[in-house]
Point group: C2
DNA sequence: ACCTGAACACCGTTCAAGT
DNA sequence: ACCTGAACACCGTTCAAGT
């Protein structure tokens, strides 16, 4: 993640800069870290790499490709080690929480994933492989695994958006009189002092999905309902 | 949806054009219809309204506001009549399917919803009110309703992306050897001649969520598992 | 009150010219 | 093989000047 380049041993001049995929992704993450996704422009990226914007195009097809690389890199920080440590249903929950938390910090990548070919995303693929292995080891029938992953992912992406939404989204304001039932239901929610409403909805949905998908796969839960 | 304006009765000259929210939304939908969301620029919108781009800013704060208006308009085509006709669990499924199908055609609006204040979105609010009423009438405890809606919505938004993703997203290609288990699981899926894999995952997840959320709310299903 | 045309400060991307 | 600088074809938005 450092932006200075070491000199090659014994060489009299600086090593030629090679804009590898790894360096470009690292620079992109620094730009995002400093200014958010709005700050991630090809110019800003080039500046961080101390290069002219046009030079980037010798190493990258398009900004979209940078986003695809970012997506795959970010995916590698989703935790799959839980499948080695925990009963499968707890592991699935832990994986889903980690997955949501990671992409809540990278929501602009979510539309990228939706179109991303896994054949170009080795880390993403490694994650799928780990989850598949975890579920197979737990006795899940293979034909149910992909639909289960897809359903969980859909829920996770939507929940990642929800996690970063303003808390007062459901304030009905001047329209409260037109939606008395919903307004009352929302007020019950905002009264909760514990944690955020988004987290409660995520946990409720996650439990429902894990239980329901396992039931559809003909499996009892290993550690009972949460 | 027509773009020509009637003359006011008895008036000697054309009615002054008023760029109402309704006309702007209609024009935006025409632009999207013709060229997709990539074609929706302020210039294109102005052209469709036969006005200079700068004129739009007398009626709209920003392009983001246009998107918010669009979002609310599009939301009104989500079906909630099912709550009047069907047992609540079937109604919830029918609503969710309609919701997903609508936003699969409008995925660029999904990030807009995530930040949209319902107080400025009357049709969206009306939808929430209808769902709330439907669930209350079925005996759902009020405190469970908002989390259930949020969880279902998260799943629906993610599934909308999934519904428009290329079918071969999971082709592992040259990386197949690195992910043998997942590759095999995906092949079982693509072998299915019936419908699209995204639909199977959506239905599996939807059943799991409806069943699980109802269970969490202490309710049995009205019409048995699907 | 609402329009136009010019201008501004950006974008991503291309390409000839260099080394 | 890879860089630079200039240029291109856009964006969304602002604003003085009009009616």
């Amino acid at each position: 993640m450092s932006s200075d380049e070491p000199r090659r041993r014994g060489a009299g001049r600086p090593v030629k800069r090679v804009l590898s995929q790894a360096r470009i992704v690292a620079a992109a993450l620094e730009v995002i870290q400093a200014g958010g996704y709005g700050a991630l422009t090809m110019s800003a990226l080039a500046r961080r790499l101390e290069v002219a914007p046009s030079a980037l195009y010798n190493h990258v097809e398009s900004k979209q490709e940078v986003l695809r690389w970012l997506q795959d890199f970010v995916m590698s920080s989703v935790d799959t080690s839980c499948f080695a440590d925990l009963p499968w249903d707890q592991a699935l929950r832990a994986w889903a929480r980690s997955y949501r938390d990671v992409f809540a910090r990278h929501t602009p990548l979510i539309p990228v994933i939706a179109v991303l070919q896994v054949s170009g995303a080795p880390r993403t693929l490694a994650m799928y492989e780990a989850v598949t292995q975890g579920l197979q080891r737990a006795g899940w029938p293979t034909p149910q695994i992909v639909p289960a992953i897809v359903a969980l992912e859909s829920f996770i992406y939507g929940s990642a958006y929800d996690a970063v939404a303003p808390q007062d989204i459901f304030d009905t304001g001047a329209l409260a009189a037109d939606s008395p039932r919903f307004t009352a239901a929302v007020e019950l929610q905002t009264g909760r002092a514990d944690g955020r409403a988004a987290d409660a909805a995520f946990e409720a949905g996650l439990s429902a999905l894990v239980t329901g998908l396992a039931g559809g796969a003909g499996l009892p839960l290993e550690s009972g309902p949460a």
